[in-house]
Structure formats: C-alpha cells, structure tokens
C-alpha cells in the first residue's frame, strides 16, 4: 500500500476537565471522515472499540501521568492505529490478571479489543500504540459478535 493511502490526524491535550471526552470525539470524527472521504468500511464495532481504547488510554494519562498528552491517529483501509504519548516515564507494568478485582482493568480491556498494544520508551515520557481492525472480521475474535 502506498503512503498516500494513509490518513493521519494529530491532536494535543493538557488533560484538563473534559479532555477524555474530547479525545474520544477526535477519534470518532476521524473515523467518520475516513468513512466519508475515503469510502473505507468502518464497522459500528470498530467505532465503539476505537472510542473505548481512546477513553481508556486518556483516562490512564489523567490518573498516572497528568500533563500534556499527544494523540496520533493513523488509518489505512484496514486498521486504525491510536498512539498516545504522555510525559510520564513510568511504564504500565504487566502482572497477573486478578479476576476478583472489581477495579477498572483498563489495559486488560484494551488488550482484549485490540490487535496489538505496544509500549515505547521515548526520549521524554512514553507512548502507547493500539491497533484496531476497522471492519469486523474473523481475525477479531475476542470482541465477540456485534449485538447491535
């Protein structure tokens, strides 16, 4: 696929009140433009999942790395990449899932609905990159069948 077929977007936030919702709006509008301008198929599930992932990652910036946050979106006809950079140097750490915990399980959820999740150390801070399927497909088994 040639690079001209890639659609990109970027936005920055200070993660003040209301910004979690603004990050979701940014992602939703990006996907709707992708559908309208490029004619790409974006399933209802993908629209849901993209906003969910954006919301979880932005929530974690609020909770664990308050301060500036940069969101990069990158789509081809098949997948959407959401890259969220924050200034915190602490990396989200993997440890055993605790099914008895009532807590938020934010990244657990992200892992379940994404094709991949990447953690990158940056010169300042870190970035997380989540990859989402735009269309429903047999390759996206863990979200289960769409119910609506």
């Amino acid at each position: 696929m040639s690079d001209t077929a890639i659609m990109r977007g970027r936005a920055s936030y200070e993660m003040v009140s209301g910004d979690i919702a603004r990050v979701r709006d940014f992602v939703r509008e990006f996907l709707i433009s992708a559908q309208n301008l490029r004619g790409w198929a974006v399933s209802a599930r993908a629209l849901d999942v993209a906003q969910l992932v954006a919301s979880e990652l932005a929530t974690n910036v609020c909770k664990y790395a308050p301060g500036p946050c940069l969101v990069d979106l990158e789509a081809d006809g098949t997948t959407l990449g959401i890259v969220m950079w924050d200034s915190g140097s602490v990396l989200p750490v993997a440890s055993a899932a605790d099914p008895t915990r009532v807590g938020q399980h934010g990244l657990e959820l992200v892992l379940m609905v994404c094709k991949s999740l990447e953690v990158h150390q940056e010169t300042v801070g870190k970035s997380l990159r989540a990859l989402i399927d735009l269309a429903d497909s047999p390759d996206t088994p863990l979200f289960g069948p769409a119910t609506g």
Partner: protein, 107 residues
C-alpha cells in the same frame, strides 16, 4: 402482566435511574452518587441503560461494585454497552433485562 406492585418480597418497587450520554472517569461521579443513594434507601436499583451512548472501564467498575453490594438490575442496555459487557464477560455476571418492566418484575 406483572407489575411492580405484584412483587411481594419488597416494601416498594426499586427506584429506576435513567442515565443518558457518555460515561467515563470524569462524568461518572453524579451517576455514582445517584446509584449509591438509591442503593442506600432501597437496597437496589434499576438502571435503564438504553440511553448510554458510551461507557468504558470506569463505568464498568461502578456496575460491578454496585452488583457486589446490592440488587443491581440493568435494563435495555444500548448496543454499545452490550458490546462492552460481553467483551469482559460481565454479561454473565450482571443481571440484565430486556426492559425496565422486566427488571422491576424480576425476583
């Protein structure tokens, strides 16, 4: 048809809360306060969830915590919420009903 009044095991029908819009870490506190108040007064609550256009793990945490402590009944979840609940298997744990009347009538 089963009406709330026909349930014999409670002094009155459970209160019904109808949250609308998007629920995340920031927008959750008023809803949580409403749910907590209903639970404190009645031991349970029906959440009419048809108008929930977005919910994430913060909202899910509130549902699961409420369910552990009280009689939480979710009615008519929107497609978006239904998908969220099924991803994490919460649809097998929580009590979900097709409509508010079913939720009220359930025992």
């Amino acid at each position: 048809m089963t009406t709330p009044e026909s349930r014999g095991d409670r002094s009155g029908p459970l209160p019904v809360i109808t949250p609308c819009g998007e629920f995340d870490l920031e927008s959750l506190p008023p809803l949580k306060a409403q749910i907590d108040a209903a639970v404190a007064a009645h031991g349970g609550v029906v959440v009419d969830a048809a108008g929930i256009t977005f919910a994430d793990s913060s909202f899910l945490g509130l549902l699961l915590a409420t369910h552990q402590a009280a009689d939480l009944r979710i009615a008519a979840p929107s497609a978006t919420l239904g998908r969220l609940l099924s991803v994490v298997g919460a649809d097998a744990v929580l009590r979900i009903h097709p409509g508010v009347q079913d939720a009220l009538a359930a025992s």
